[in-house]
């Protein structure tokens, strides 16, 4: 397998806790997409947050089809929860971690 580039992957929130690290470096083939980063990180990881993630590439939201380049910063973002008061229509709380 030809490994042609490296990207930096960042984990936030509940995902950082479950990965045990805030970031890692990944080696990818030329032409690899965001989706492949998600799948590589997900391999062996548990929990349902993976379905609800958003992805940012170089600090902007990006789709799964986005083709990556050498040195890209890829951030895996669980649903955000800034601000304070929750709208009454929101879902249940997460489990104790």
């Amino acid at each position: 397998m030809l490994l042609a580039m490296r990207v930096r992957v960042l984990f936030f929130g509940v995902l950082r806790d479950s990965m045990g690290v805030a970031e890692r470096e990944l080696e990818l083939e030329t032409g690899a997409t965001v989706q492949e980063v998600v799948e590589r990180c997900r391999a062996g990881a548990e929990g349902g947050v993976w379905e609800a993630l958003a992805i940012a590439v170089n600090q902007e939201y990006a789709r799964r089809e986005r083709v990556l380049a050498e040195g890209d910063e890829v951030a895996l973002l669980p649903p955000v929860s800034g601000g304070r008061s929750r709208s009454s229509s929101a879902g249940l709380d997460g489990a104790i971690v």
Partner: protein, 164 residues
């Protein structure tokens, strides 16, 4: 032309911030007021003492900071354009906050009140869905990452793409 920042950008940079210390709502609000304003609408999000009856000790906020700040600047600029208000301030605090402290402050100054209310509401609603900030809530018997609201469709792409 020489500085690379025009007056509007310079102003926006001061009005939108991520901070690690106490937010002084009065100072921000007073600094925002200008002669052309007839209405100022403020949203002050503060740490509540409970979530669904479970007692909260404190909250820890963290962010993907550079991206969060860029998103907040975009939100402020879009609110000005979309609602035709004069100016929007957005401040979010990170780190450990105790009950009663301000986590987020949004101030909208406008000639008319309708636009001020609508812009303020839109900013906090959109911020809570799109700006990469997370909070972990500390209860007496453990800590929980607060569930966020689902990302809007335009951010995650099609459901198919997201799950594949």
């Amino acid at each position: 032309m020489s500085s690379g920042l025009d007056a509007a950008e310079l102003s926006a940079a001061k009005r939108v911030a991520i901070v690690h210390e106490r937010i002084d709502a009065a100072m921000v609000t007073d600094a925002m007021k200008a002669g052309a304003d007839g209405a100022v609408c403020v949203f002050d999000g503060i740490v509540r003492d409970n979530t669904r009856g479970r007692r909260t000790l404190y909250l820890d906020y963290e962010a993907y900071e550079a991206m969060a700040l860029a998103q907040m600047r975009d939100l402020a600029a879009e609110a000005v354009t979309r609602f035709k208000v004069r100016e929007v301030a957005i401040l979010h605090r990170l780190g450990r906050l105790v009950v009663g402290e301000t986590s987020v402050l949004i101030v909208v100054a406008s000639a008319h009140r309708g636009a001020a209310f609508e812009a303020c509401r839109w900013v906090i609603d959109t911020l809570k869905k799109t700006v990469p900030i997370w909070k972990k809530e500390q209860f007496e018997d453990g800590a929980v990452w607060a569930d966020g609201e689902p990302f809007p469709e335009e951010i995650v792409g099609s459901a198919e793409g997201a799950v594949r």
